[in-house]
């Protein structure tokens, strides 16, 4: 780091390209204005007593974040597989119910020969015409 020039109301301090501050600011996507710098310095004053501990904490948190990210990816694969299976079966049910509804309506146009046929017809009317909106 070198010292630099004074503009009217600003002191410029040059940092090397690979400077830690530059990397941190880049990671944090800090906007390049003096007001942001005031806030950062204010945070620095509040946390001054933490010093080296902050670096260790940040490193540990980076590792934890990386591990959790990898865990989440693995869990997401399991979830996607199960969700796809669920959606696939649900689609088959929708199609089956639609077909059964059409067959039931067709059946309604025919007369029933016996008690069994009447019972089945009523059951299917209830299930595929009256209650089918539940699916």
């Amino acid at each position: 780091m070198n010292i630099h020039q004074w503009d009217s109301n600003v002191k410029r301090i040059s940092l090397e390209k690979d400077c830690e501050i530059y990397e941190l600011a880049k990671k944090l996507d800090i906007s390049p204005d003096s007001e942001a710098l005031r806030n950062i310095i204010s945070l620095g004053m509040d946390a001054l007593h933490l010093g080296v501990q902050l670096e260790k904490t940040a490193k540990k948190l980076e590792e934890t974040k990386e591990k959790l990210g990898s865990d989440l990816k693995e869990i997401a694969f399991q979830r996607i597989a199960l969700e796809s299976q669920s959606v696939g079966i649900r689609n088959q049910i929708v199609k089956s119910y639609r077909d059964n509804r059409a067959l039931t309506m067709h059946l309604c146009t025919k007369g029933s020969r016996n008690e069994y046929e009447r019972r089945m017809r009523d059951k299917f009317i209830q299930k595929y015409i009256i209650d089918s909106k539940l699916i």
């Binding site: 600003v10 410029r12 904490t57």
Partner: protein, 97 residues
């Protein structure tokens, strides 16, 4: 806060009153570094909390899904059986006619 010039150097633009209050370049740089680290720690804690929440949410859903799939499978099996009965009833009508 940061600007870059053609020689690939990055510059901190510190308001003069702030620089004067701090007193030196070294102290200014140290405060900026600690401030950025403090902010980084806060953001990391937030990101970790978000990730943990997403993991818990997914675990909960993964535990629910097998039961949901089982219920759907039962419904599908019943609908398939019903279809056979319906087709059978309609075939009988055809034969009768």
């Amino acid at each position: 806060m940061l600007t870059r010039n053609r020689s690939s150097k990055t510059k901190l633009s510190v308001p003069k009153d702030l620089y004067d209050a701090i007193g030196s370049q070294e102290k200014t740089v140290k405060l900026v570094k600690i401030g950025l680290l403090s902010l980084r720690v806060t953001l990391l804690e937030k990101e970790i909390a978000d990730l943990s929440e997403k993991i818990e949410e997914s675990k909960k859903r993964i535990a629910e899904l097998p039961h949901e799939i089982e219920s759907l499978q039962k419904l599908l099996t019943e609908a398939t059986k019903d279809r056979k009965v319906l087709e059978n009833l309609l075939d009988k009508k055809k034969v009768k006619q």
